[in-house]
Amino acid sequence: MNVLFGSPALHALVLGVGIVSALLGVTSYFIWFERKFAGRMQSRIGPKHVGPYGLLQPIADAFKLLIKADITPDTADRALFNLAPLLAVCVALLSLAVLPLASGLVIADLDVGVLFFLAAGALTVVPTWMAGWGSNNKYALLGGMRAIAQSVAYGVPLVLAALVPVILSGSMKLSDIVAAQAGGHWFALWPPGPGLGAGVLFVLASLAEGNRIPFDIPEAESELVSGISTEYTGMKFGMFYLGEYVHSLVVAALFVTLFLGGYDGPGPDVLALQLLWFVLKVSLVSVLLLWVRWSYVRLRSDQLMTLCWKYLLPSGLLLVAASAVWVWWTEQGGSR
């Protein structure tokens, strides 16, 4: 294992603290950017008053959420209710552990990295359901029900989509997958077809599995008031909010890693340049996701299930088969 600081434990600690705090900072400014972006898209201005261009708005928001009254309903299951928001953030951050930001810049480069983030992704439903059940509110309960159905369903195409780069690169280690794409051989571009399809499938499925916008059917403001977070106030609500955006960013980062060559880009292989490429790609994907999010209305929960079982699952199987055929064919023909 490639270790930057002394022992592996120290390496993990330093990098972990560094990356997580950097990500939390980035997330709050991602939220600021989204508000500006969505505002302009809707002929509005967006945050403006706190600081120049409203740049201090995320800090003001966090401060506001901190000083809000923290209400726990009398009938709520206190343990579940209070633990859920914390878990939501933790679980969203979990996938970061295996994410290579640059060559060697990874907290724990597991041999089964893909398996790890799939497992971590499957966990996101746990805090959601804890919130849904623990709130003892009918709307929250309905939200929790939807979340479970959605998570279970979309876990399957997610695995299939993640399998495609695994098959193509022949490894479950994320740094190997990135290395296999080095020199512009990004899986989204080459081989044509399975890579890009799997990439789209991956983003759809992981957003849906995490019940994130635009698949936030468990929250569905217009139907379920606020779904699982109906009873949450103050910072507990803020943590759900944060978890949601962290998850969106992590999904974008994983997509970049698996399908867009990760930190690969033109130029010499220095750490700073690699990091730059990575951040650039993640930002681009995030903006694309924002654009989509602010352009479409929401599907109904049962239609989302239909989409998953009837369309995404078969196409996922097809993509896996196609990539397997591709690998077999290149090995046979030795076309490399």
Binding site: R40, I45, S295
Partner: protein
Amino acid sequence: MSVIAPLLDALRTTIRNLGRKPITAMHPFEPRTRAPRYRQSFALLHEANGDEACIGCKKCEKICPSEVIVVGTAAKRESPATGKKRGWADDFTLDLQACIVCELCVQVCPVDAIVMVRVPNAPGFEREDLFLTMKRLYENEALPHAPAIGSSMIASHNPAPASQAQAAAPAQEPGT
């Protein structure tokens, strides 16, 4: 393709609007221009010779649908300016909290004493802040007021032939 094309269409619409100028009006940091007829708060007017115009006839009090106007009529006495005997109001209050801004009081005023001003009453922290006393109503006189005063409104409502020419070519309104 019939699925993809409309989806792309929506994306195109949103990205096109990204380039448009925002329409947000930064109220109250930047003043909004209001139409001349805009009606918000109230004012009582003085006559040209300095007399208070209100004669305390209580017509506005009677017509107000939400009963927010209370007029106290004083005894008739001579006007200091003209020396003629006329009616006076010794109290005039208007509760803006319940006012529905229908402008009926302006319409019925026989002496054009009450008008609606274009500037909203400043928000307050007490209920009294939205309670217009006679003093505050006369203070509001300086504010720009809607062009409609009772007599001009009634004149424009008159179906007599004289007003037809006026209706066909409305005069330029003040305060534009």
